[in-house]
Symmetry: C2
Subunit: 411 residues, 2 copies
């Protein structure tokens, strides 16, 4: 008998029929002898509807009250799911954030979980109940409702699995699992059976939308195995877990892309200490998140500084950079929004050389020019012209033969 | 400087524009130097929409979970109102039942308030905030969400006014106040400036829908003055308060009618001890609420027993009565749904004679036959054929000259 935490997203609980389907799945797992805790999101689209109401009511709605408002979405879902379970003969009880409680800090809209009390949940499980927990929400030290930010229900599920020392945290979604790349772009994309936490985090931060990055970090810290799978079939999905020896042999696990960023270049920057701090300090003051930063060696006392930001922040970033450029007597600020970031991710890179050059030659073979490069221990990212995005993804997928199981490969 | 509790119903917060209007009203009251606590209902129609969802999900949805579900309606309203207030420059904070807390018993769907802690509210008021409280909801000893039943927000408002020892509880609604009778039936209906708690309770129990009867009982117990007024204009409404000397002089305050009941007669009932207990015990077992009961003296050892029930309970009541009739060897059970109950209410009846006969002659003058009569200390009700309802209401309104202020009258 195992203790299983299951999480169902907004699409899985999209309407009453789907909620009943979820109830049947939960009961099936319970019937296998498992103790089941279910975490649910709001009915698909509900959070957006509520946010729209907030913005109709106030230009910049109070953050505490926004959390009071949008947390109702999950409250509706847990009530309906618990009802469905009980009407099918399975005893169940819903729990809101404050009833467990799930304690968080007071950062409304992006709160972080500080503690989960497992007592009430374990008590309910002991009496044979399925426990239905509202995702996305918690309570702060003042008893105010908080929410965890977009995709926060994943984090709720993982955190509860950690608090309960659950055997697995199953994340049900509308895809079959984690793929080597976006199947819409590359038809040879293959579902991964296993992936390490680190790889999954890199994939998530690079734009793969299957799991919220914070939930993966949480799972890694507490070593909670995550099983990403479809709520519409019974196939095995992808297990996200600790890196093991087999994984180390895999050179590249996936290819991702992100077309949501813009590139800004400040030209003719005087090469003096403190200049970079001034520029990126100004961007931070404007709450602009900077992704990649490139500064090459200077020539004749001047250098160009290039960085990427979210497209939604382009104008804010441009204004800030322009102001600093004038102060430090640099040249123009140039914007380029026609860019894509293409990345390969793999734990095996740590111990293998030559992966970067394989990537660069695969792109070169397709005549794709590389504008920027950045690397981490298990990732290499290249900024290219956006029209080449799909071509680049397919070329890299082919170059690293991701359509095949990779265990045998050694370079 | 006064402490004012204001309650706005579902129509008053029907959409975002109306919520902004409520915010403006609240600010106006605050600007006059009042401390304001606002209790709000769900957006009009929302509770019904949620109940429909529950019944689509389960045939007989679990009562605890129904309360988790429908309490979200008020949660949405308080968040939006608090946002609107803050965006207009008025500091405000929303409170859910569990955050105050408003403690209740565990009778889901019809819980009763056992205690309200005033500390958090007073603290917030002290810092100049408007306090926005979710109506209709509370929390039981297990930290489960409860709701107070239809119109429960009135009760929340009165209970909070009592707990805070507020100067007045203003109930904002879509009518101007309490009228001598239904203005749709009698155009000479007059808005009452004042009415006693007892009269208001009789009126509410007889079908006047302005206030929930439990909220009036609560207000009477704690002597909280209720001001019933319109949320669409600034006119004074009706003050519901303790009976005073002036009120005692008023013979009849209002005329009400109720066409929601049916009349059942069990004929040829053997006149033995225990028969009535058997009949009405059977009805109670079926959860049928019986309103009026008439049993006249018997002739030759037999009598007829007549009673009224809600029309929605007619068939249940008929089946139960039929069964008992067979057991006790009585005659037929006859149903009559074409009835109306017309009532006059007035504190002055206590000390005045002749009111009943004035009522009966007013009906007789219009050739309206009286089928059943029942009285309380401050009320006389007659059951008549339903087609005469409006005629009877107008005749009684005229007979007691309710279009005029009544203070001078003495019979």
């Amino acid at each position: 008998m195992a203790l299983v935490v299951q999480k169902y997203g907004g699409t899985s609980v999209g309407d009453v029929e789907r909620i009943k389907n979820v109830a049947r799945r939960v009961i099936a797992s319970q019937k296998k002898g498992n103790d089941v805790v279910v975490v649910v999101s709001a009915i698909g689209g509900e959070t957006d509807r509520l946010l729209e109401l907030a913005h109709e009511t106030a230009d910049s709605p109070d953050e505490r009250e926004v959390d009071v408002l949008i947390s109702t979405g999950e409250q509706v879902s847990i009530a309906l799911l618990a009802m469905a379970l009980k009407s099918m003969g399975q005893d169940a009880q819903s729990f809101l954030g404050f009833q467990i409680p799930i304690l968080t800090d007071s950062a409304y809209g992006k709160a972080r979980i500080s503690h989960i009390d497992s007592e009430k949940i374990l008590e309910a499980l002991k009496t044979g109940k399925v426990v239905v927990v509202a995702g996305f929400q918690g309570i702060d030290g003042d008893n105010s409702i908080t929410t965890l930010g977009r995709g926060g229900s994943d984090t709720t599920a993982v955190a509860i699995a950690a608090a309960l020392n659950a055997d697995v945290c199953e994340i049900y979604t509308d895809v079959d699992g984690v793929y080597t790349t976006d199947p819409n772009v590359c038809e040879r994309a293959r579902k991964l059976n296993r992936i390490s936490y680190e790889e999954m985090m890199e994939m998530a931060s690079l734009g793969a939308k299957v799991l919220q990055i914070r939930s993966v970090a949480f799972a890694m810290r507490y070593n909670v195995p995550i099983h990403v799978r479809s709520s519409f079939n019974d196939q095995m999905g992808t297990l996200v877990c600790m890196e093991d020896k087999d994984m180390e042999k895999v050179l590249v696990s996936g290819v991702t892309y992100n077309i949501g960023e813009a590139k800004l270049t400040v030209t003719q920057v005087p090469d003096r200490p403190g200049i970079a701090a001034k520029l990126f300090g100004a961007l931070a003051d404007e709450n602009v998140m900077v992704d990649m930063i490139i500064q090459n060696v200077s020539r004749e006392g001047y250098t160009d500084v290039t960085f990427t930001v979210l497209k939604t922040d382009t104008s804010k970033a441009f204004a800030a950079a322009k102001k600093v450029a004038a102060e430090i007597k640099a040249g123009d600020v140039i914007i380029d929004e026609d860019i894509a970031k293409v990345s390969i991710v793999g734990t095996g890179m740590r111990s293998h050389w030559g992966v970067a050059s394989s990537m660069f030659s695969a792109l070169a073979k397709e005549n794709i020019n590389i504008q920027m490069i950045s690397t981490s221990e298990i990732r290499i990212s290249c900024v290219i012209e956006s029209k080449y995005t799909e071509l680049a993804v397919r070329a890299l997928h082919d170059a690293f033969q991701l359509e095949k199981e990779q265990l045998q490969e050694e370079i």
